[in-house]
């Protein structure tokens, strides 16, 4: 399970980074979204991956660490708000500059 989980997180991060480095705002927004998904998955696994664990501490039995779940919840909320904001911002930039390049002007072609 750990291997699959790590590969998933890694692929998401790589795709997110690649898209964030693109020149147009739409791929950048999608890239940031993927990046935040990857981060949430990563945070989720930080207490260690357990299956069939109790959700609360109950003696010596195996349990799932509740703290990362609370952290992920916070991170999801913040990430969601930020994505909404950046979408609106990208649309404003598109209408102000007349194109969707992140620098506000097209690259000069030879």
């Amino acid at each position: 399970m750990e291997g699959l989980y790590a590969i998933t997180t890694g692929v998401l991060t790589a795709c997110g980074l690649y898209l964030t480095l693109r020149g147009r705002t739409f791929p950048v927004v999608v890239g940031l979204t993927l990046l935040s998904y990857a981060v949430n998955l990563f945070l989720f696994s930080m207490g260690g991956l357990t299956t069939d664990g109790a959700t609360i501490v109950d003696g010596p039995a195996s349990y799932a660490d509740p703290l990362p779940q609370a952290l992920v919840l916070t991170a999801i909320v913040i990430g969601f708000a930020m994505t909404a904001f950046v979408v609106i911002l990208a649309m404003r930039a598109r209408s102000e500059a007349g194109n969707d390049h992140v620098d506000g002007r097209e690259e000069e072609r030879q």
Partner: protein, 500 residues
Amino acid sequence: MIQHLIVLPVVLPLVAGILTLRSRQGGTRSKRLIGVGATALLVMIGIALLVQAAGGEVSYYALGGWQPPFGIVLVLDRLSALMVLVTAVLALGAVVFACGGDDEKGSNFHGLFQLQLMGINGAFLTGDLFNLFVFFEVLLLASYALLMHGGGKARIQAGVHYVVLNLAGSSLFLIAVGVLYGATGTLNMADMAVRISELPAERAGLVTAGALMLLVVFGLKAAILPLYFWLPRAYAAAPAPVAALFAIMTKVGIYAILRVYSLLFGEQAGPLAGLEQSWIWWLSLATLVAAAMGILAARDLRLMVAYLVLFSVGTLLAGIGIGSVEATSALLYYLIHTTLVTGGLFLLAELIGVQRGKAGTRLVKGRPLKQGGWLAGLFFLGAIAVAGMPPLSGAIGKAFLLIAAEGTQRLWLWPILLGGGLCMMIALSRAGSTLFWRSHGEAAGEVLPRRQWFGVVWLLGASPLLVVLAGPISDYTHATAVQLANPQSMIHALLDGESP
């Protein structure tokens, strides 16, 4: 009341912000009253906190009554009290300036301003690593909106870069926090410091990776060399009162570096102690060089002030890079000076730009200023302070720092810092003579409102005051540096209620 004092710098701006968000348009007078009133109250709270912390004891506020290390805590020591007070003083100047008309150029200025203050104060007071992330997000979200207050193409474009970079930075912050939590099993900074000092060797690599990722995040906020390219454009485009408040934003990054690395990776951390030092030292020198070139190359007064902010960041980081108690004390004195003076210069640049009409703050021949004498006088005062010339506070701060450097560090720091000072003098005198002397035509600008004058004088006037009070202030910063160098006092104060 007195035991709730620590939480007030977070709660007061939150309540004031919500009150001003009641109506989107209109109600200017009541919004201004709430904004200025809350900020003035914040100054008083800051003074009360400083008095409480000056004795040297570390006190904490357990939110919801959950005791550390399990609950979230706000921690008050000398450093956080000082930062809260500096923020409040800066914010008061900026908000009074904004009441001169800038707040009506867009909606919800005062509400966003208060919420940003809440984020900044929270970041200074929190004792929990994840909570630091949350407060960073609060102050960033408010700053995104404030940066674009009033709209316009330049602001939106600078905003796109600023927002995207900071969102990527937030992701990295979360990864770093996750790594540190995975390796140590706690998020409370004092508890984490204990766990790191008892760290099994096989986890040292993980903690190092997490710590250096945190350094990248804080470096992005503080604008260290490879991560500063967003700063000049964003600061130059922001409305003047917002740019003035942003003068403290880079210092939030500096504060985070100081707090996290002195607490987690102090002497008790064993092999991991001081792992950030050499990185920060060399990058700070490179930042100083880049900033000096930017100051010389700037063709716009606001852009020049943005590079002056960058130069101050380099200076402060050099202090962290040296790492001794004297250097930390020097950088804290310099931090007070540079935050207030660069904030004042942003406000002053706006006034100059308004009176020059179409030429604005660009360094070209323009029409003469209507109140040129007063503005030139203030510019002269600000330029001397920021360039670090005697008799104003910049010189004292720089001298402290130069003395604190030892051995080969002197060989590097002295020429770069003093050469940078020369660059600043050349650039500022060239800018001043262009703005005030190379003019033609008739002066036509309007007389500036008194509130805007107050904002500028309040912030620039801090510089002579810092000289007059240099003795007590440097005593305080020295005590702060000693407290930072001994993280045990904070660990004891937070965790002693626990059975070991």
